[in-house]
Amino acid sequence: MTRDKRNQRIREFFIEKTISASGIASVVIVVLIFVFLLKDGLSLFKIESIQDFLSGKLWYPISDPPKFGILPLILGSIVVTAGATAISVPIGVASAIYIAEVSSPRIKEYLKAGVELLAAIPSVVLGFIGVVTLVPFVKQFFNLPTGLTAFSGSIMLAFMAMPTIVSIAEDALTAVPRSYREGALALGATKWQTIYKVTVPSAASGIVAAVMLGVGRVIGETMAVMMITGNAAVIPKSIFQPVRTLTATIAAEMGETVRGSDHFYALFAIGIVLFLITFFINMIADLYLHREKR
């Protein structure tokens, strides 16, 4: 009896410690990643001021003397992300409303499966499909010198943001208490009046969080943009020009740089910028998600 009890206590002890160790490990790993990122990234600022780095218009990392201005890259990321957001948010939110509020249960199942399938397509495959189909189409349709533009990248990234937006917004809409809808319907509101005056405002914070997470995914995306946007590190004058994003720069140049060189540190510094952008976007999304729960 007492031995059983003692064994049990030992087992409890180990299980508990293992679980806490795993929990702590994830935090420690994140901190370590950030420390290494800072260590290498901040080394750049010994030779280049932060201001020149962020607002410099020229990115010539291997010319002599090198120029590490990432403004074109930041603008590239912003243009592609803004385009992708403008495309994916209206479509994504509308389809979340359709799935959560309008469709019949059977159609709902098919649509949800479809959205999950879209999320499962690897980005390199989407990029490949984009190169083969979308890029020639854009070139021909808009009569451009090349189809490898920010616009093509935006469309492709919109496909990637959509599953996130749809599934999280759909969850938020489904979580709106049925009694809210019934309250509105009992006053004689039509289905559409109920949706846009009651259901969507009630789920607003969840929908905003969905959008932010979708945007976060777009900013961090690398493979597809690298294949589609043309990779020209110039400040874009319109959405129909080739651009290069922060992520694509790191991915494309990391293999060609010497470890410990200024160029190497500059790429890490770009990593810090990216990290901060995604961090803030996720934080905003998180704030909205938690506001909803309260």
Partner: protein
């Protein structure tokens, strides 16, 4: 002979395999409160939700029979939103919409096309007064409705229902979550409203039916056992099942 406001004839309701209501026929007069009592699963709520076609929201709902209001078949030509405007409903749990007190009440009239600020203010004041809530909230109409107490929220929901000027009000156990004082206030409001509206009150609290309603209907397992003047139901019911329920021998 006055013609009834609501006439229910052979109303039969099924949800999939569940037979919720069996061949119920009854009439509800103008300006009366009809109390509907009965144990859980007796079909009271299904009955109530048939009158404003809320059962239509349930996927596998089947009904037969006729319900007429002022002689018009509500399952015939009548559009559902128009019907629900005419037949208001107050739910068991008060559900203020996530808006201010003012907007909660103005919401209904706005849906039906009233946009003049002045007119809305009048409607809100009138509705809140009719629900005995005006004095308690008149200084904080812009505050979120969620900050009100449970009893105030329920009276807010009544005011919201009144604001669209219905002819019939359905109460679905309106006091189940309220304390005795709030309950008394809601009951007082109901008695006042009787002079202008037709009221159907579904309640689990038999004493409430005795206090408030003019006539009482007793439902048991989907059947209408008995409907009569309230004092008759509570003193000399025709059916022994009714007296058993009222005296608390089951249910």
């Amino acid at each position: 002979m006055v013609s009834p406001k609501i006439s229910v004839k052979d109303l039969d309701i099924r949800f999939g395999g569940i037979h919720a209501l069996k061949e119920v026929s009854l009439d509800i007069m103008n300006n009366e409160i009809l109390g509907v009592i009965g144990p859980a699963n007796s079909g009271k709520t299904s009955f109530l939700r048939a009158v404003n076609r809320f059962n239509d929201l349930v996927p596998n709902y089947q009904m037969s029979g006729r319900i007429t209001i002022d002689g018009l078949d509500i399952y015939g030509q009548v559009d559902r939103n128009g019907l629900r405007r005419k037949v208001g409903m107050v739910f068991a749990l008060p559900v203020p919409l996530p808006l201010s007190i003012f907007d909660n009440i103005a919401y209904g009239p706005q849906l039906h096309g009233i946009s003049s600020r002045k007119k809305l203010c009048e409607i809100v004041e009138k509705a809140l007064k009719a629900a005995f809530l005006w004095d308690e909230v008149k200084d904080r109409l812009k505050k979120p409705a969620h900050n009100l107490s449970g009893g105030q929220q329920q009276r807010l929901c009544i005011a919201r229902t009144l604001a669209v000027e219905p002819e019939v009000i359905l109460f679905d156990e309106p006091c189940s979550g309220l304390d005795p004082i709030s309950t008394a206030k809601v009951e007082e409001a109901m008695l006042q409203l009787k002079s202008r509206y037709t009221i159907v009150l579904v309640t689990n609290n038999t004493k409430q039916a005795a206090r408030v309603s003019d006539r009482t209907a007793f439902f048991l397992m989907g059947e209408l056992v008995e409907i009569d003047k309230t004092d008759k139901i509570f003193t000399a019911p025709a059916d022994t099942r009714t007296s058993d329920y009222i005296e608390g021998r089951f249910g």
